[in-house]
């Protein structure tokens, strides 16, 4: 779950990282409470590229700020409309840096990434320095090590190291996948200040992070309607543009089935991974979700039961056939408990096939 800038900065502040004295406004009229001008108005959307899109503006006085806040509240950035603007006094910037902590897959642990050049295009920068955190055991010298790798010296080594120490605290305390300050600036008084922040909380950790209870739904602005509904009931659906609805279990098999639909000349409308160990009710909800798209002409169900009990799936299919007798389904159902599942399917009058290629070509033929 990616946090908005002001939410990320609140975590930074609580951990002792300096941030500009900001104010979050939810409507344009609130700008008349701003005390310090000139100020920066920043749209609080969850997508990148907000500056280029016109979501960051400077204002010299209240009237100027009012007009600009009105514009920003109306401005969609990659489809995302802001519900808040962060107002901060304009700061003096002596130097801009970049620093983040994230898990590196290949290293199998967290790393510190930083650059002496902060700014927007950090991903394409070749000035990035990396300090791995051995066995995930952080110690302050690692922050200082990074500081010297960036060419800092003297008091700056301690100041930068202190920022990394505190960033590490945020990273571990809130089960983050990513904590990032970009830019980290050195202001007129030589203080290190987080001018922008990005924090991603691991979604699997939300159940043990009560601070973020109930916040997920308003942080999923990049999902389509069905994808959002699916996510809310634990179903991973991805929308495409064809006419075959695909329901599988397991990400690899789901992707392989989708690839195979394209291979046989068909086009998926969407595909859904029902996950492992799904119950009858869960599968029934999944069927409803896949079929709810108007473009779906045929449902292709491919289930290989390991932790999933084929009988649960068969009962869901039977239930679905009862309420939607007109729906066209091609079903392949094999694995744990498949014999008992076959009996349920036979009784329900649902045809099945054992061969994946056959199932896919049949679905493609029906879809036309």
């Amino acid at each position: 779950m990616r946090l908005r800038e002001y939410e990320a900065k609140q975590l930074f502040k609580e951990s002792g990282i300096s941030i500009p004295p900001g104010m979050v406004i939810k409507c344009a009229e609130e700008v008349f409470g701003i005390k310090n001008f000139p100020c920066t108005l920043k749209t609080q959307v969850l997508t990148g590229g907000r500056g280029k899109a016109g979501g960051i503006k400077f204002a010299d006085n209240a009237n100027d700020a009012y007009a600009k806040a009105q514009d920003i509240f109306k401005l969609k950035v990659k489809g995302d409309l802001p519900t808040a603007i962060l107002v901060e006094p304009k700061v003096t910037i002596k130097k801009e840096l970049y620093v983040s902590i994230l898990i590196d897959r290949a290293y199998r642990g967290p790393i510190i990434m930083a650059s002496a050049e902060g700014g927007v295009e950090i991903e394409s920068s070749n000035s990035i320095q990396i300090v791995p955190i051995p066995e995930g055991n952080y110690s302050s010298y690692l922050g200082r090590k990074m500081a010297t790798q960036l060419g800092l010296s003297g008091a700056d080594v301690l100041k930068f190291g202190d920022i990394v120490n505190k960033l590490w605290n945020v990273y571990t305390k809130f089960d983050c996948d990513l904590v990032e300050i970009n830019p980290l600036i050195v202001d007129g008084d030589n203080n290190y200040v987080a001018l922008d922040g990005k924090v991603t909380i691991n979604e699997d950790a939300l159940g043990r992070q009560p601070r973020f209870d109930g916040m997920l739904s308003e942080h999923l602005t990049d999902l389509g309607e069905r994808e959002f509904k699916g996510k809310m009931c634990g179903l991973n659906i991805v929308e495409l543009e064809g006419n075959i609805g695909i329901l599988c279990n397991g990400a690899g098999l789901t992707m392989a089935t989708m690839d195979l639909v394209f291979h046989h000349g068909g086009k998926p409308s969407n595909f859904l991974d029902v996950g492992g160990g799904a119950s009858k009710d869960h599968v029934a909800r999944a069927l409803d979700l896949v079929a709810s798209s108007e473009t779906v002409k045929v449902l292709l169900v491919n289930i290989l039961g390991g932790i999933t009990d084929c009988v649960e799936v068969a009962n869901a299919l039977k239930y679905y056939k009862d309420i939607r007798p007109e729906a066209k389904m091609v079903v392949r159902l094999v694995g744990n408990n498949e014999a008992a599942a076959a009996d349920v399917m036979k009784a329900a009058g649902i045809e099945t096939t054992n061969i994946l290629d056959d199932a896919v070509s049949k679905a493609v033929a029906i879809a036309g």
Binding site: D204, A251, T254, M255, A256, D259, D273, G276, L304, I307
Partner: protein
Amino acid sequence: MSVLINKDTKVIVQGITGGMGKTHAALMQKYGTKIVGGVTPGKGGQEINGVPVFDSVTEAKQKTGANCSVIFVPPYLALDAALEAIDAEIPLISVITEGMVPQDAVKLHARAKAKGVLVNGPNCPGIITPGECLIGIHPGSIYMPGRIGLISRSGTLTYEIGLGLKQAGIGISTAVGIGGDPIIGIDQIKSLELFEADKDTDLIILVGEIGGTAEEDAAEYIKAKIKKPVIGYIAGRTAPPGKRMGHAGAIISGNKGTAESKTKAFEAAGVQVAKTPSEIIELVKKRIAVAA
């Protein structure tokens, strides 16, 4: 022979009194796995499916001689359970649990590495040596014994290929479901190393998927160290970029982790790449025919 597990492997199930643990302990027993006990703290002294339940892994190991543990505990308890098994020096641990927090997985694998313990998973189907031993959640009846080594990031796709091979009358030595999470223990390279050394494996199937660079790294390893033929497959060739495909690990970010890059790396390492699961079986058949 086989890799990692065989008919003599003595297995305990951590979380044996929970729903999943109980169900799959019974399925593993039915398959023929030597389940010698279970562990659920606070429930020691009970019996499940005819095997004793212990309060701790250390006790279970002392009383049963277990040399493998399969973990079925809920995600937030999985790290503790795995650390307990590592502390008890169980040499092979399979973490079936899905939804483990990545920072927990980092701690788990760091400790396992320090203690020289092999960890399979998390979020994986486990390992099967057909006809001898099954640990985890593979549907046993889908595989037959033979001489093909199977490595896969995806559980159900492993079953798909096991089934396809069986339908073609081809068996496997061992299938290692390495798991789809970004941070895993036994990976493609470790599995390749084990199969290369196994005298009863003739050919290796490596099933990858989009996301990360594990396949590219495996390709480098194959080029340098693997003499046995390898057949590869990549799931997600048609996946839309930027979307998470179920597994936390399966996502194309920017130009990294694409099927094209992985296919190229495989081909450069002399790995034949199948476009569909059934083509894997065709390629295996051809290889076997050539060898014969």
